[in-house]
Symmetry: C2
Subunit: 280 residues, 2 copies
């Protein structure tokens, strides 16, 4: 496995892979890799000839009050995991190279960026869209792989790709979960024992909502009440939102008819967790 | 010459040209082609294997009060000119295809988009950056060619390309002028006889400023006064701005030391004209 830090070296390697007709798959990550990322790597290896994993903790998607500084990092662990997973290139650019002074260039995706996560984290999706655009332009993949856990991020990126006519397939892969249903996340390590126990109830709450829906309940207010009731109320738990929305537009549904996504964001102490479940 | 309206057809053709190692040059235009565009085509033919000219009057870069509706169009004339100039593909997408309903995706370039032209035309450079990003993603050129007449546009696009790590050379070619110095522009056709005569003085004013600078005058206030005085004051002429700025940042200079760009925007009746001169 090749470890590349230089943007121009990454670009040259991608260009030569493309010229020889190899299909490139990119998995953009912020590192501290877990089983969710590894499942994306396996998926990418099946569908592509060359798998590139980028590890870049993107300052542009953190607000000043957020956890950019303490976001977990494990360069050596990430390297080993990528190597074992058959990744061809681990791309780890520096923040100074990715955001030269006074760059000031951003991609904005209106309509889906300022609701849900965007309402709680202003500027977050502008940062996400911008860094993903940059990575897509550097690595030039045929396909890019994202986890469904960050559902709204996937919606934003799909819209960006369509809106800017970028030539790449966006592939969203199901969330990988712990035994108790907690969605794998690099932030789970922040949780203390009590918080960790309560965290498992996010998924129970989502599946409770799904079960109620499948039993015939169509009223989102009642469905959301049931989900709220199913959360284990650890002290210090704060619900940022529980929502049932259209999976394309993320507009809240007034009656749940066909496809829907149930989304949830909860704070446990200093840790913020998100999860979702797609109803087909 | 191939005329292509479909985005997917253009994309497929560009991809196959790239695979065979041919160098693609793109000249993005709003049509109503003149000698300025033709000089870009000749330049592109020298430097590239396949020249693509796009003709698209981009609604996103016009403010509601501007001349989008009356902007001159001549599809048949443009086709003939491109054909004679040895263009391989004339790409003419529809507005409905370029901006599907609720797209809402934009590229913004901070710092250089809200001054000079951007101050007079809010949202203009967001529209320019967005459409150029889209065209670059569709046509995938190795090089894109722009006229220096739209100096600030060139600065915005170069910043966008750098900021989003787009893999394309931006080539800026000198302004082509009429006999009296008036910069070629599709909007010159709006001018009546009196306005047309006065319009020639934009370039005289710029060259007067340049001559004074070269004679040793370093004070931008005095240089701008001299330029203002050299304008032929046709009735109804309004000066939007006369500025002397750093060519990279477009920041106004307080003392003109080395490289500088002199920029000017003037309204003659309902017509807005811009011009500039680069001091090396």
């Amino acid at each position: 496995m090749k470890v590349i830090n230089s943007i121009s070296e990454m670009r040259a390697l991608a260009e030569s892979a493309r010229k020889t007709g190899r299909r490139i798959g990119l998995i953009p990550t912020m590192g501290f890799l877990h089983e969710g990322h590894l499942s994306l790597m396996r998926k990418a290896r099946k569908e592509c000839d060359a798998v590139v994993v980028s590890v870049f903790v993107n300052p542009a998607q953190f607000a000043p009050n957020e956890d950019f500084q303490r976001y977990p990092r494990d360069v050596e662990g990430d390297r080993k995991k990528c190597d074992s997973a058959g990744v061809e290139v681990l791309f780890m650019p520096s923040a100074a190279d990715m955001y030269p002074k006074d760059a000031g260039v951003f991609v904005t995706v209106d309509g889906v960026s300022d609701i849900l996560e965007g309402a709680v984290r202003p500027g977050h999706f502008r940062g996400v869209a911008t860094v993903v655009a940059k990575l897509l332009n550097i690595v030039k993949p045929h396909a890019a792989f994202f986890g469904q856990k960050d559902f709204q991020q996937c919606v934003v990126i799909k819209r960006m790709v369509k809106g800017l006519n970028m030539d790449v397939d966006i592939i969203v892969f199901p969330t990988i979960r712990e035994q108790d249903g907690l969605a794998m996340s690099s932030r789970n390590g922040y949780l203390n024992v009590d918080e960790r126990r309560a965290a498992g109830s996010l998924y129970s709450a989502l599946t409770a909502g799904e079960a109620l829906l499948k039993s015939g309940e169509r009223d989102p207010v009642k469905l959301k009440d049931a989900m709220r009731a199913a959360l284990v109320k650890e002290k210090g738990m704060m619900i940022d939102y529980i929502e049932i929305a259209d999976p394309q537009s993320l507009a809240p549904l007034v009656k749940v008819e066909a496809r829907a996504v149930m989304l949830m964001a909860v704070r446990l102490g200093r840790t913020r967790l998100i999860d979702n479940i797609l109803i087909q």
